[in-house]
């Protein structure tokens, strides 16, 4: 794992693109920049915001988007909200799980993929929705999705 030093984190915190700086805005900025929250980010944000590490961890562990280890090279999100569910999202889930040899959302051991189950990607007319590296694709089916994954390899 690449070491991220405190100075780098402090730089991110100072230059964050949020007018009102809060614990949450700081966490979002670090994750946007680095892709995850390294351990020292928690203490750096605590120092920067003049709060305790527990305060920061409380927020970081509440929101479902924060992660604490580097993501895979590609992030695949599958929406399992009701709109997508009735259009066949569970089939997408099972075929991708099988393909990536995973039991649930998480990272593949080779560090290539991160699989995430999302509750709403916000483009329900095109359900079922998936997103690969933050790019949405709709009207998805298993064979189309598996082909897209093959292309990433």
């Amino acid at each position: 794992m690449k070491n991220i030093n405190n100075e780098q984190i402090l730089n991110i915190l100072k230059n964050q693109d949020h007018t009102t700086v809060t614990i949450l805005s700081s966490l979002l900025s670090v994750q946007d920049e680095i892709g995850y929250l390294p351990k020292n980010a928690i203490s750096s944000i605590a120092d920067f915001m003049n709060v305790t590490t527990n305060d920061v961890w409380g927020v970081a562990s509440y929101y479902l988007n924060f992660r604490f280890n580097p993501p895979g090279q590609h992030t695949i999100e599958i929406c399992w909200g009701p709109s997508c569910h009735i259009r066949g999202a569970s089939k997408l889930q099972s075929s991708v799980l099988e393909k990536l040899k995973l039991k649930n959302q998480g990272d593949t051991s080779d560090g290539k993929f991160t699989l995430k189950f999302n509750t709403c990607l916000g483009a329900c007319p095109q359900a079922p929705m998936i997103s690969i590296d933050h790019k949405l694709s709709g009207k998805m089916n298993s064979s189309k999705l598996l082909k897209m994954l093959d292309k990433l390899n």
Binding site: M1, N5, T20, T22, I23, L24, S25, S26, L27, L28, P38, K39, N40, I42, T53, V56, W57, G58, V59, A60, S61, Y62, Y63, L64, N65, R67, F68, N69, W80, G81, P82, S83, C84, H85, I86, R87, G88, A89, S90, Q93, S94, L97, N104, Q105, G106, F117, N118, T119, C120, G122, A123, C124, P125, Q126, A127, M129, H134, K135, L136, G138
Partner: protein
């Protein structure tokens, strides 16, 4: 620059666009078209074509036309002809369409949707005759698809900021509140509370005050808030500024979930343009009214859309609801008086002030004036975002606008108002879209999402996915919701696996009643709704599933893999430095 000069300047630019010698090409680019259907690459194809062939054009990316099934849509305005629309355009066919029309005046009929404008072309139908368009009455979405989402002058040329100008220069704060009260505008976020009345709670307090615009919108099946921000962020900014003037507030926050890059970036850009033109900031229109707006991002949490949880999130904390009282109007963000309005509620405000309350009241029904923006998804021929007048029947929305159920299937269930809303049967088709009528029928209009479900889905299966959503998104602050949702999901899941018995229904009812009585916010209070409403209409499905005979087989076919919590137990156990 004075507002009059700004308006003159904008009108001139608009005239150049609409009557100038260059073709004006507009490409729709909102959530679905933009990222999912690649309208960006269509735009670059067109720009390449124009440069290569030395054909000067005006090109704009615009917001959502609502007929999402036809996206991405392009239209051309050229040589005094009406706007001509093509749908389902791709990178591969767009040049052929352009080339034939611009060079040869030939309108390709493949992918042709129709024309828009007073004039028409013989042999081509008008887009207003499309079923998805003729029944719409677009107020909040009036500019959506017509103006570039990143050009404030196009907004001003279409009557933009006239409402704010009128409010600030000709009306007192109290008059603005009365006008909104008289219009009968009710909150579009779910609770349907009268907007003007909500504002009046803020009128007498002094000092720093906040207008919070809620665009958290985590409801599966609803995407109209993000749709407005992507298509016409200016109408929201103007509405917020008017709300700020009416309540004598100083600051506004647009609250959006991080990661929805298009609505976020477009809103930020629009805010900046408003500042650059003196429409936000200090002493707006030379008056003593000053108002600032910024975008506030939240993390992934459905409950963050609850008004007090939203305030916690704006403060940068975990989005868990506060207990009330004190209410936000007395003690809101950082302890200052605050008003929370939904994007849609604020999107109407500028037009209400510009055209008067009588005008708005004349649209819709007695108790629900104006329009509703409904989002159709699920098993429907024409999914999309449609703005309809209140009072239209659900049947007209589903069958006429939505085009009915595809694949020769029949309608089985409707799910309205987000996951906490109700599951309805086909008999609800006659219900009118109206806050009170829908409440009487045991449903809520909520944020406007309508998920249409055909006869391939078992009611237990749909309920399971709704309950799973609510359980997963419970914030965990109060135990009736945290434990109740978990227990409810266990039971529904058991039933869907062919186990369970009738006593389970009683048990669920008991849990549901306790959740309603004991939960701090709407998430827990309404958490039993999906089950109780499904049971009301489809108890037979539950009973069959208990016997191991799922009526459609969908319970066995669709096994949701519930996301597992993968985070470390404490921050000390995070690996690395």
């Amino acid at each position: 620059m004075s507002f009059e000069a700004l308006k003159r300047d904008s009108d001139k630019r608009w005239l150049d666009l609409t009557t100038g010698s260059k073709p004006w090409i507009r490409v729709s680019s909102a959530m679905c078209c933009g990222t999912s259907l690649e309208s960006d690459s269509i735009v670059s194809e067109i720009v390449n074509y124009s440069e290569k062939n030395k054909i000067p054009i005006n090109i704009d990316t615009v917001g959502c036309h609502g007929i999402c099934y036809a996206g991405p849509i392009i239209d051309i305005l050229y040589k005094g002809q009406p706007r001509i629309f093509w749908g389902n355009v791709t990178r591969d066919n767009v040049i052929k369409i352009l080339d034939n029309y611009i060079k040869n005046d030939e309108v390709l009929t493949d992918n042709l949707l129709g024309t828009l404008g007073d004039r028409f072309i013989k042999g081509i139908k008008k887009i207003g005759d499309l079923p998805g368009m003729s029944l719409q009455n677009r107020i909040a979405l009036r500019n959506s698809g017509n103006i570039a989402f990143n050009d404030i002058y196009q907004y001003i040329a279409n009557g933009g900021f006239e409402g704010l100008h009128k409010a600030v220069t000709k009306m007192s704060s109290d008059e603005v509140i009365s006008e909104v009260k008289d219009s009968g505008l009710r909150g579009r976020g779910g609770a349907a509370f009268p907007t003007g009345l909500k504002w009046s709670f803020m009128a007498n307090s002094k000092g720093v005050k906040y207008i919070l615009c809620n665009c958290e919108e985590g409801d599966p099946g609803a995407y109209n808030d993000k749709g407005i921000l992507e298509s016409d962020p200016y109408t929201l900014i103007e509405g917020m500024a008017i709300a700020g003037y009416a309540t004598k507030s100083t600051n506004g926050y647009v609250f959006i979930r991080h990661g929805h890059d298009d609505p976020i970036d477009r809103t930020k850009e629009a805010i900046q343009q408003a500042y650059d033109n003196g429409l936000l900031g200090n002493n707006i229109f030379g008056s003593d009214f000053s108002f600032d707006i910024e975008v506030s991002l939240t993390g992934d949490s459905y409950v963050a859309g609850e008004e007090t949880a939203l305030m916690e999130s704006v403060e940068g904390l975990s989005a868990r609801p506060r207990s009330r009282p004190p209410f936000p109007a007395a003690y809101g963000v950082w302890g200052h008086p605050s008003t929370i309005n939904n994007v849609k509620s604020l999107a109407y405000v500028s037009e209400i002030i510009r055209n008067g309350s009588e005008w708005f009241k004349s649209i819709g029904t007695e108790s629900s004036s104006g329009t509703a923006i409904v989002c159709l998804s699920g098993d429907i021929l024409h999914p999309g975002m449609y703005e309809v007048e209140m009072g239209i029947s659900i049947e007209d929305v589903v069958k006429k606008i939505g085009g009915g159920i595809p694949d020769g299937r029949s309608l089985k269930m409707l799910q309205t108002g987000g996951p906490l809303g109700g599951v309805l049967g086909p008999d609800s088709l006659k219900v009118k879209i109206d806050f009170d009528e829908m409440a009487k029928a045991g449903a809520i209009l909520g944020s406007g999402g309508i998920i249409i479900v055909d006869d391939r889905t078992c009611a237990v299966d749909l309920t399971k996915s709704l309950v799973a959503f609510c359980q997963y998104e419970s914030c965990g602050k109060c135990f009736p919701c945290r434990l109740g949702m978990t227990h409810l999901l266990e039971i529904v899941e058991k039933i869907s696996r062919g186990k369970g018995n009738l006593t389970d229904l009683d048990l669920m009812n008991k849990i549901g009643r306790n959740m309603q009585a004991g939960s701090l916010c709407g998430h827990g209070q309404l958490g039993y709704n999906p089950i109780s409403s499904a049971l009301k209409h489809f108890q037979k499905d539950f009973e069959s599933c208990m016997d191991g005979n799922c009526p459609t087989g969908s319970c066995n076919e669709r096994q949701i893999v519930f996301p597992e919590n993968t985070r470390p137990n404490s921050w000390q156990t995070i690996k690395g430095n």
